[in-house]
């Protein structure tokens, strides 16, 4: 029983960074732009959040700084693909490596520095509920924030004008033009907002989850986030469920190790990726058919020879 609770609660904790990244990617892809640089935005967020948190002592300022750092990298992606017409894949990957280099360089002196990040805060009353209380309400503030962010993103996408414009940009961009909106502005906004969210995800990792900074600390979570968006069929609500699932896959290993089981660390680290592959293989074409139409074009529009 306690193993299950540990895995569930660890899943929520560890899944939250992935969730922020995937929510950001959802917004971006809904507007028709794939951002493989999400991993990079998360890295920028992790380091940016860490530095500001260390220097100011305020985790909230840290989270904000992380968000801005993530947004800055995505803005570059937006500039390259939206205005310069660069390949979305090439730009995203290049920016990831740029972020990897930058954060290794500027983060070197922060490795091992102590930080006073977010600490666990139990929600009064709710945290006393058995199981559910432990899993959902004995967490850090960024987890609680995500409980509000998920419905907010849903509301934004489906109930507001901004969301309508984002979805139109992703489904049939010429319809935006006909109504006098700028496709470029809408896409750039969505991509940047996506980076902002991914940045929070990165900050969650360094100043709430691990309370440490080290090189390449995101280690693939950004890519899991990108894959997650596909099998969550671009729905923020499903992103939440999926992220927790991955969080649990990550938590399972440490929970087992803590109980003295001798499991191979490398095998444990591989679990989430094996899970990703399995889900992608299972869903295959099914989800692609419901993908935003402009996103399909990104894959299908081979340049003329």
């Amino acid at each position: 029983m306690s193993l299950i609770v540990d895995v569930l609660s660890g899943g929520v904790r560890g899944g939250t960074s992935i969730m922020y990244g995937a929510l950001g990617e959802t917004v971006s892809e809904r507007a028709g732009v794939i951002n493989l640089g999400t991993e990079g935005s998360m890295l920028m967020g992790a380091l940016g959040g860490y530095i500001v948190c260390v220097e100011t002592g305020s985790p909230w300022l840290g989270a904000l700084a992380g968000a801005l750092a993530g947004a800055a990298l995505s803005l570059l992606h937006a500039y390259l693909v939206v205005w310069r017409g660069a390949s979305q894949f090439a730009s995203g990957l290049t920016l990831l490596f740029l972020a990897l280099g930058l954060t290794s360089l500027f983060g070197a002196t922060y490795v091992g520095k102590p930080v006073d990040g977010f600490s666990r805060w139990d929600v009064p009353l709710l945290s006393d509920i058995p199981v559910i209380g432990t899993v959902l309400f004995q967490q850090d503030p960024l987890v609680y924030l995500s409980f509000a962010v998920v419905p907010f993103i849903w509301w934004l996408l489906f109930k507001t004008r901004a969301g309508l414009l984002i979805r139109t940009a992703g489904e049939r961009s010429e319809s935006l033009t006909v109504h006098g909106y700028s496709v470029k502005a809408v896409r750039a906004g969505a991509v940047t907002a996506g980076g902002f969210l991914a940045g929070i995800g990165g900050a969650h990792l360094s100043i709430a989850y691990a309370n440490a900074w080290f090189e390449n600390m995101v280690s693939g979570r950004g890519f899991i986030a990108v894959a997650l968006v596909i099998f969550a069929v671009w729905s923020p609500i499903r992103v939440m469920g999926g992220a927790y699932l991955f969080g649990m896959a990550l938590a399972l290993g440490s929970a087992l190790q803590a109980r003295g089981y001798n499991v191979n660390q490398f095998a444990l680290d591989a679990i989430p990726f094996v899970l990703t592959l399995a889900v992608l293989a299972l869903l295959g074409k099914k989800t692609v058919s419901s993908s935003p139409a402009e996103l399909k074009k990104v894959f299908e529009n081979a340049p003329p020879t």
Binding site: K159, R161, L164, R167, E171, S175, L176, P292
Partner: protein
């Protein structure tokens, strides 16, 4: 309304509008007027410049010269937003709705409602407006699930809800089934009675006569007839104004191909096939088409015609049943191509057009063997074959170096027709081949299909135009709800009976 009080004046007058795209003189000194309570038909052959004129009026293109006067005041319409502000709304030839969004969301794009969409209030407004104008639509339906006719109603409703007094419709009927045309015209009639002005493009003279009070004829970008009453002209006079020559009627002739000891051009046996939504779209279809036979498929849109064509061409694997083309079993599109099938898809703009490629590129974009050069494709040969075929077929396609994305609707269709019909095909599957074509080219296309048949090809032709089918088919199969509900041979063609079969009635 204001028009009743003040002196009557045109909603819109354009004077000497000119628009040239590099070497293409799309419009040269074009003038016309649209009055309140008037339905004004804009007619002319493919590439005459109709869509270009409409796009200038709607602020998509900017005229090189000329004036536009909206309700008595000179206007510079530099964007669609400005056009809408002036009370001008347009429904494009290719509808611009977003399929993945609901009707209400699509309309919300055009109507400012503040930060949130207030979809419930908007749905209410949509219902009220749709009651008022007789345009029934469900605000919560996903546009992707609607028929073309319904989508058009949504577009018109949207235009009306943004406060348009002048409604521009670019070839609304060329994609509609006859019943849908009737429904559209009753809406147009209603709008006319409410003092709206309507500017409508069509290629069909009987439609001009049914719906329009006024007509303007364009040819080669110039106004040939300006603001005339259609009833003052005979059909021949109007056709002559449109194409510069008279177009002879099609002479019906029977097939003379000897078919004994030749394999059937197409056989389909016991075909059951699923539609895109997973429903059973074809239910136990069996048919054969002999070489040298032209078989027409009639039916209300969505009765399984599209699936039928796709199964015949190996594009849609049937759940059960077998397809052969000249005796060869068909399992995938490659088989169909190598057996000698040619295909004119239902919606070329969506299915077989790559906008950034040229006309010449499109000539080889059909998966058949290409003339090989030393490295890659031998474009010289492609070009000369294309020119020869173009001369032979006489559909006068645009210059081979032009980008397909800048061609007019009918000219795109002609590129596809020329490519597919110049093959020595064993089987021609033609879905709505004359869609979007002007009168002269409709006639020419029908002639070519008959020539294919006379050379021994089997032709499967889907059309919603019964007159067209009855004038060229050797046999008509009527489809209803995935079945073949009846078969009628040439000598017994009877409009009434076909109509009955189309709605599933007993023959």
């Amino acid at each position: 309304m204001e028009q009743h009080v003040g002196p009557r004046r045109p909603l819109l007058a354009v004077l000497g509008l000119t628009k040239h795209f590099a070497a293409v003189k799309a419009n040269t000194e074009v003038s016309l007027e649209v009055w309140p309570g008037e339905v004004h038909a804009l007619v002319g052959e493919n590439g005459a410049g109709k869509s270009t004129l409409l796009k200038m009026i709607y602020g998509v293109y900017h005229p090189d010269a000329g004036q536009m006067i909206v309700e008595g005041t000179e206007a510079v319409i530099d964007s669609p937003a400005e056009a809408r502000r002036l009370g001008i709304g347009m429904v494009f030839q290719d509808l611009r709705l977003v399929p993945a969004l609901t009707v209400a969301e699509n309309i919300a794009l055009a109507i400012p409602t503040g930060v949130t969409l207030k979809l419930r209030a908007l749905s209410q407004q949509i219902r009220e407006a749709s009651d008022k104008h007789g345009l029934s639509v469900d605000p919560n339906a996903k546009v992707g699930h609607l028929s073309i006719g319904e989508r058009q109603r949504v577009e018109i409703l949207k235009v009306l809800m943004t406060g348009a007094k002048l409604v521009i419709l670019d070839e609304p009927t060329s994609v509609l089934a006859p019943q849908e045309v009737e429904a559209l015209f009753s809406v147009v009639e209603h709008l006319r009675s409410q003092d709206f002005g309507i500017l409508i493009v069509t290629h069909k003279l009987d439609e001009v006569r049914t719906i329009a009070n006024t007509a303007t004829v364009l040819r080669g970008g110039r106004t040939i007839l300006e603001n005339v009453k259609p009833s003052d002209y005979t059909n021949d006079e109007l056709i002559e104004a449109m194409v510069g020559k008279s177009v002879s009627d099609l002479t019906r002739r029977a097939s003379t191909v000897v078919t004994t000891d030749r394999a059937m051009a197409l056989t389909m046996t016991g075909i059951n096939a699923k539609g895109d939504q997973g429903n059973l779209a074809l239910k136990g279809i069996s048919l054969t088409i002999a070489p040298g036979e032209l078989v027409g498929i009639a039916g209300v849109a969505g009765s399984g015609q599209r699936e039928l064509c796709e199964v015949a061409l190996g594009l849609r694997p049937p759940v059960t049943g077998e397809v052969t083309i000249v005796g060869k079993k068909i399992g995938n599109p490659r088989d169909a191509l190598s057996a000698g099938a040619a295909s004119i898809p239902e919606d070329p703009v969506a299915d077989s057009i790559v906008g950034r490629l040229t006309v010449l590129h499109h000539m080889v974009l059909n998966g058949r063997r290409l003339p090989a050069g030393k490295v890659g494709i031998d474009w010289q040969t492609v070009k000369s074959t294309t020119d020869t075929n173009n001369d032979r077929l006489g559909l006068h396609i645009a210059a081979t170096s032009r980008n397909v994305s800048e061609l007019s609707g009918g000219n795109i269709q002609r590129v596809i027709l020329t490519r597919e019909l110049s093959l020595d095909a064993e089987l021609v599957v033609a879905a709505y081949p004359s869609r979007g074509l002007d009168i002269a080219n409709v006639r020419r296309t029908q002639e070519i299909l008959l020539e294919c048949r006379d050379k021994g090809a089997g032709v499967l032709m889907v059309s919603e135009d019964l007159d067209e089918l009855m004038s060229i088919a050797d046999r008509i199969l009527v489809m209803h709800d995935g079945h073949i509900s009846g078969e009628i041979i040439n000598a017994d063609f009877d409009r009434q009976r076909i109509g009955q079969l189309m709605i599933g009635g007993a023959a």
